[in-house]
């Protein structure tokens, strides 16, 4: 039988290891949640429970009716944090490598041109400050008061 070690070490060296682990964890987690909910969760049945949205939205019917404005507010709030994450991921990946630019040849011209770690940190700080101001504004406008 062929030894598995060279494949495993090659896999460990490639950049796709993380992706593979992520796929495994995601699948496992999703499966675990499904199974555990099925085993442990309380069993309630009824028309409301069988509807796709438990929030009370009728999924079938005329779309030309009034929607609660809260759906839009929640969507906008979600968007703020969603966009934040989209920007934060590449930044978080890049930032430690720029700090370690002595061992990262591709990062050296960037740092030399002025994109120092401090610059990137401040840029992300400005972005966060803007989001924070948006959040404070929403707070002061009473968006989180549901009643």
């Amino acid at each position: 039988m062929e030894p598995l070690e060279p494949y495993i070490s090659a896999l460990a060296e490639s950049d796709f290891t993380a992706v593979g682990i992520l796929a495994l964890v995601a699948t496992g987690l999703a499966g675990a949640i499904l199974v555990l909910t099925h085993l442990l969760g309380p069993k309630r049945v009824g028309p409301r429970k069988h509807a796709p949205y438990e929030s009370g939205m009728e999924p079938v019917g005329d779309t030309r009716r009034r929607f609660s404005v809260r759906f839009y507010l929640i969507a906008v709030l979600f968007l703020v944090f969603d966009v934040e994450i989209v920007f934060l991921y590449p930044w978080a990946v890049l930032f430690p490598r720029l700090r370690d630019s002595a061992h990262q040849p591709w990062a050296q011209p960037l740092v030399a041109a002025g994109y120092s770690p401090l610059y990137l940190f401040l840029a992300m700080g400005v972005f966060f400050a803007l989001l924070l101001i948006g959040l404070i504004y929403e707070w002061r406008r009473g968006i989180f008061r549901w009643n």
């Binding site: 011209p109 960037l110 041109a113 002025g114 994109y115 610059y119 803007l130 101001i133 404070i136 504004y137 002061r140």
Partner: protein
């Protein structure tokens, strides 16, 4: 490839001031004191303006921004008009919504400043959206009537369409250009740092029957088509009258300046990519030609039938977009033969556009400011009947309205006349230089259509003036108290008078502002020549900048000084 260094922090300080002030006003919004928000807005605009005017270091580049003479012009005119807009809009929004209103005004102005500096398709798109998205909300917030809601909704949906067109067009340009950077960037020593897309787009458009040509044409046509919404030119003009009528008068005055200046600056940046001003061998000429003709005719003919002054000014805005497109067609190089003799703006279509844009913005805002200060039976003053006999009750406001109308009409002593003269003059100079494939005749035809339209437009402007001065109304309009609004309206009239007496002040700034384009066109022109061996330029087309215009890059400056000016062709304008 060496990465270009980031732009220095202090170079974007005016924009950052506007942004910070916008955030502060947003949070201060419903503070107990009513004048805090407008006061902070005014102070921040004045601080940014002082910084722009008095800061010693002006040229800067990096992060997709390029601060040259054009950005400087957009900054100064945008901030000055911004101060007037703040004064006129001082107490427009309801007290609870004043913070949002003024913050959005500041964000929109910040976007306008960034459009002037954008040197990257992505930044240009984002800046254009930063201009437009706040204006959609401003229209709705400006007054609490269902009509404003309807206007805002219409404006938003057409705006979304135009943004989609612009983004789609930009994607093709990016594909052909291979980069999103517009003009090449140099460091202080004139060493090339990164290559822009100008050369590739120009050479693609100079080689017909290739795939590159088709894609570049598609990109340019889509992007300019989307921008026609911002300047309210004909195929995308349907919203104008409804939005101007639905929005409160001060906000309608804003719509006549901020998105339009942004749109024209962006269009000039795109036309610069095509090399049209240099060789003109592309479809952009006929696209803009037909848009200009239809904008002038449709705008004026529809305005003739209006009895509502806000709708009338909306339709006249379409016609004015048409006049200004004549200047875009003529381009900054139209008068390069006469530029050395100091005639300047009469041979520089883009400078004429920038000049006219400021004058139009002032006159439009002045007219709307007068309407905002008047009430008829506690209703906003809107129709011709409402302003009838105004001169006998509030002579100051009436005279300001008359001055604004004369300026929009283009009557000789007003700055509107100098604007039209320079627009059509540059078009005639450009026609003299055009090659003889029918485009010179087309330019002369365009000028004739423009002049006829100006005469036609006098009919409806004179109707407003006649109503103010001659007619009478048993329910007269009354002036509402509002010191800030009155100061704003007064300043509009004062600036119009200043520019009537000293038109050169603004014209020189506008001419200097176009030196960016002339430098770029020169670069594009040379590479287009090397890319298309079969094509030879007529000798008149050798690039030559205005001698007094400071050039951002020493490389460009050297090129201009080594090339000799072409004498002759100075019959127009007579001096």
């Amino acid at each position: 490839m060496i990465p270009t260094p980031p732009i220095p922090f202090c170079a974007v300080l005016p924009e950052l001031i506007l942004l910070a002030a916008g955030c502060a006003v947003l949070l201060l919004g419903h503070s107990a004191r009513r004048n805090v928000g407008p006061g902070v807005t005014l102070v921040s605009l004045a601080a940014a303006l002082a910084l722009v005017i008095f800061s010693p270091e002006r040229a800067a580049a990096g992060n997709g921004l390029l601060y040259g003479p054009l950005a400087q012009f957009v900054r100064i005119s945008g901030l000055e008009l911004g101060i007037l807009l703040t004064l006129v809009n001082w107490s427009q929004a309801r007290v609870g919504e004043r913070g949002e209103f003024l913050a959005l005004l500041l964000f929109s102005l910040c976007g306008l400043l960034l459009v002037g500096a954008a040197n990257n398709l992505l930044i240009l798109f984002l800046a254009l959206e930063l201009v437009s998205i706040p204006t959609y909300i401003l229209v709705v917030l400006s007054r609490g009537s269902p009509r404003a809601l309807e206007a805002g909704t219409k404006y938003f949906f057409l705006g979304a369409l135009s943004a989609a067109l612009i983004a789609y067009g930009f994607s093709f340009l990016y594909g052909v250009g291979g980069t999103a950077q517009l003009a090449s960037s140099y460091n202080a020593d004139g060493v090339l740092l990164s290559v822009g897309m100008v050369d590739k787009i120009t050479s693609a458009l100079a080689s017909p029957h290739t795939l590159r040509f088709g894609l570049a044409t598609l990109g340019i046509v889509l992007a300019i088509g989307g921008l026609l919404f911002k300047i309210a030119a004909v195929p995308l003009h349907f919203y104008v009258a409804d939005v101007y009528q639905g929005a409160a008068s001060p906000v309608a005055g804003l719509l006549g300046f901020v998105p339009k200046l942004a749109g024209f600056v962006a269009i000039c940046k795109l036309v610069m990519l095509t090399g049209h001003w240099d060789s003109g061998e592309n479809a952009v000429f006929w696209l803009l030609w037909f848009v200009a003709v239809f904008s002038m005719c449709v705008g004026n003919l529809l305005a003739l039938r209006q009895s509502n002054i806000k709708r009338l000014l909306g339709y006249s805005g379409i016609a004015h977009a048409g006049y200004m497109l004549v200047g875009v067609l003529a381009g900054p190089l139209a008068g390069k033969a006469v530029a050395t003799e100091g005639v300047g703006i009469f041979g520089n279509g883009v400078a004429a556009v920038l000049y006219y844009m400021v004058i139009y913005g002032l006159a439009n805002l002045g007219a709307f400011a007068v309407l905002a200060l008047l009430r008829v039976r506690d209703e906003p003053c809107e129709t011709l009947r409402d302003v009838a006999g105004l001169v006998r009750r509030t002579p100051g406001l009436a005279l300001l309205l008359v001055l604004a109308m004369f300026t929009l009409m283009g009557l000789p002593p007003t700055p509107g006349f100098w604007g039209k003269l320079s627009l059509f003059g540059s078009a005639l100079t450009g026609a003299g230089l055009a090659s003889s494939d029918g485009r010179d005749t087309a330019m002369i035809a365009l000028v004739i259509i423009g002049v006829l339209n100006s005469a036609l437009a006098a009919a409806y402007y004179l109707r407003v003036i006649a109503a103010v001065l001659l007619h009478e109304n048993e329910h007269p309009a009354r002036a509402v108290p509002g010191e800030a609004q009155q100061i704003g309206a007064l300043l509009c009239g004062f600036l119009l008078l200043i520019f009537a007496l000293f038109p050169n002040m603004l014209m020189q700034h506008a001419t200097v502002a176009t030196s960016d384009f002339i430098g770029r066109v020169g670069t594009a022109h040379q590479s287009a020549l090397s890319a298309a061996p079969g094509w030879s330029a007529p000798p008149e087309l050798a690039g030559n900048a205005h001698p007094t215009a400071p050039s951002l890059h020493s490389a460009d400056a050297d090129r201009h000084t080594t090339e000799s000016a072409v004498p002759g062709r100075s019959e127009y304008p007579p001096h």
